[in-house]
């Protein structure tokens, strides 16, 4: 694909996403798109660490939950605007991610995955039993007037749509910048071969922490959005293991380590799970996961680079 075509396609896609609410303004359509962008954001956050740097985490729900809880608690107890609360939310997530990363990065690949999974479950259980933050009951956010500074919009979902779209666009540009810069080269070198990376003067331990921090920050912001969008959070909805697994799945399905992979993944998996739930109702619970499983197997067998591999064939490049 030539550069010109890339710009034309990119511009057209941007125009479509920006104009979408003008054409499809039903709450259902907007809700679906908001979910897709939210998950795309989560997938991209996960991808910085899991795809680009090759450190697979199955505990990323931790940062999503922390982002949701910190901003919600600050709003409920001190009345602090979620926009401001987002900053301590990110700070706490990054600090926790570094505390998790420091010992876990010393572990071999598979053990790292298991360690992140364990930390995720531990924090889930802590929040379930932590009465001061609502315990198993969760937190209802106070209903406030519709305004941008309150991060609440009651008549229409359109503002939520544009907020999450802007977050996603910012992260797309951030990721694109990282990929082109020295940081991206170092992340990939660590993923490909840590010993070789170190032989080129790359402090692998440090750069893995950097990737972890960026990844946790993005995930945390998505958590803040989620809490403001649904106005209710409880541990199973923001700390569940399945959430961590989904972040990984979308990135892998779409194409890990590629810029657009997680977005493609979200556009396929989210409608799939939403509609399978809708059509099959309560009895259909878990069907979406079975379809996920089948898709992952198909991808692993036929297109290990993910769906993006179909769009960007490697041969002849």
């Amino acid at each position: 694909m030539t550069r010109q075509w890339k710009y034309i396609l990119g511009g057209a896609a941007l125009l479509l996403t920006v104009l979408f609410p003008a054409v499809f303004n039903s709450p259902g359509a907007l809700h679906l798109m908001i979910l897709i962008y939210l998950y795309a954001l989560l997938g991209m956050g996960w991808n910085i660490l899991g795809g680009l740097t090759g450190q697979v985490s199955l505990g990323h729900a931790v940062y999503f939950g922390i982002g949701a809880y910190v901003t919600s608690m600050l709003l409920v107890t001190f009345g602090i605007s979620p926009w401001l609360g987002m900053i301590p939310g990110v700070a706490v997530s990054v600090i926790i991610s570094l505390i998790v990363g420091y010992p876990c990065f010393r572990l071999d690949k598979h053990y790292f995955v298991i360690a992140t999974l364990c930390v995720g479950e531990i924090i889930h259980i802590i929040f379930l039993n932590w009465e001061a933050v609502g315990g198993a009951i969760g937190i209802w956010l106070p209903i406030m007037d519709t305004s941008f500074s309150n991060f609440q919009f009651h008549k229409t979902k359109v503002p939520y749509y544009y907020i999450i779209l802007s977050f996603l666009l910012i992260v797309i540009f951030l990721t694109a910048w990282i990929q082109r810069s020295r940081l991206g080269f170092y992340f990939r070198a660590i993923r490909e071969d840590q010993d070789a990376a170190r032989s080129l003067g790359i402090n692998a331990a440090f750069y893995k922490m950097v990737a972890m921090g960026i990844s946790a920050a993005i995930t945390s912001i998505a958590g803040t959005f989620y809490a403001q969008y649904l106005l209710f959070i409880d541990p199973p909805s923001v700390f569940a293991l399945i959430l961590s697994v989904q972040m990984c799945l979308l990135a892998v399905l779409g194409g890990k380590s590629s810029l657009w992979g997680p977005i493609i993944g979200a556009f396929i998996l989210i409608p799939l799970s939403e509609y399978s739930r809708e059509f099959l109702g309560g009895s259909g619970q878990g069907i979406d996961l079975m379809v996920y499983g089948a898709l992952i197997m198909a991808i692993a067998a036929f297109q290990p680079r993910g769906l993006i591999g179909l769009l960007q064939p490697r041969k002849g490049k």
């Binding site: 020295r182 993923r191 010993d195 070789a196 170190r198 032989s199 080129l200 790359i202 490049k317």
Partner: protein
């Protein structure tokens, strides 16, 4: 010519196994030093001790007068020692150019400058035409060349080549040897690990011979080949005894 690398009484033990026993050697500026010895002599261990991949039990490594013993590999590289690996470790999911740029990024943050440096090194190595290929699609000799290029792009003053010629066919060996001499002509010091003596002798200014973890000789190539201890190490005691009586 000044001494840039000095290994002083280095000892490395793996549990009970004495892999390097009080080894001392020096490499001077622009000098090509061959490090040879039969399999299991401790060459790669010594190499990994110098490059920071193994911790040293006793002794010291000095580089340009600075004690670099037990520094982490990335720190050793920043001091100006680059290396290649016995089993190639190219970045498979990156292009040849990106592989080499990763090395060049050590001395600059700027992408354009890293790219220029990488292209210059690729031109020198003879991989310029293959710069857009994915590293995993290359042949073994080309992968080895990518490793050398990547190391050179980090602008080292000493390059450690670990069995750069292992697994290459006759013609490929000649090409690689030519390249090594070309690198040496640029004024870079080289420490070349190799277990095939014939390959190392013609390109080395000095040869260090290891056997069973200890240094048995350090001399000019011609002198080393006639050293009975070296012959013994390579060909066994019986052969050496016979050789001496003749």
């Amino acid at each position: 010519m000044g001494e840039i690398l000095k290994v002083d009484n280095l000892t490395k033990r793996f549990d009970g196994l004495l892999a390097n026993d009080r080894i001392s050697l020096t490499v001077s500026e622009g000098e090509v030093v061959g490090l040879i010895g039969p399999n299991g002599a401790g060459k790669t261990t010594l190499f990994n001790c110098i490059a920071g991949y193994h911790s040293v039990n006793q002794g010291n490594v000095f580089f340009k007068g600075k004690n670099i013993t037990n520094l982490a590999p990335e720190r050793v590289c920043r001091e100006g020692i680059a290396r290649t690996f016995q089993l190639v470790k190219v970045f498979n999911e990156m292009t040849v150019l990106e592989n080499v740029m990763t090395g060049a990024f050590l001395r600059t943050r700027n992408r354009r400058r890293a790219e220029d440096k990488a292209l210059e090194v690729l031109e020198f190595i003879g991989l310029y035409d293959k710069r857009t290929l994915w590293a995993e699609t290359l042949t073994l000799p080309d992968k080895k060349m990518v490793e050398v290029a990547r190391a050179l792009a980090s602008e080292p003053t000493l390059l450690l080549l670990d069995e750069a010629l292992a697994g290459l066919s006759g013609a490929e060996v000649n090409q690689a040897v030519e390249l090594i001499s070309k690198v040496a002509k640029k004024g870079m010091a080289l420490l070349v690990v190799e277990h095939v003596m014939e390959v190392v002798m013609p390109i080395s200014d000095k040869v260090v011979v290891l056997d069973h973890g200890a240094k048995v000789a350090e001399d000019k190539p011609e002198a080393v080949t006639n050293d009975p201890r070296v012959i013994e190490a390579y060909l066994g005691m019986k052969y050496a005894a016979k050789h001496r009586t003749n």
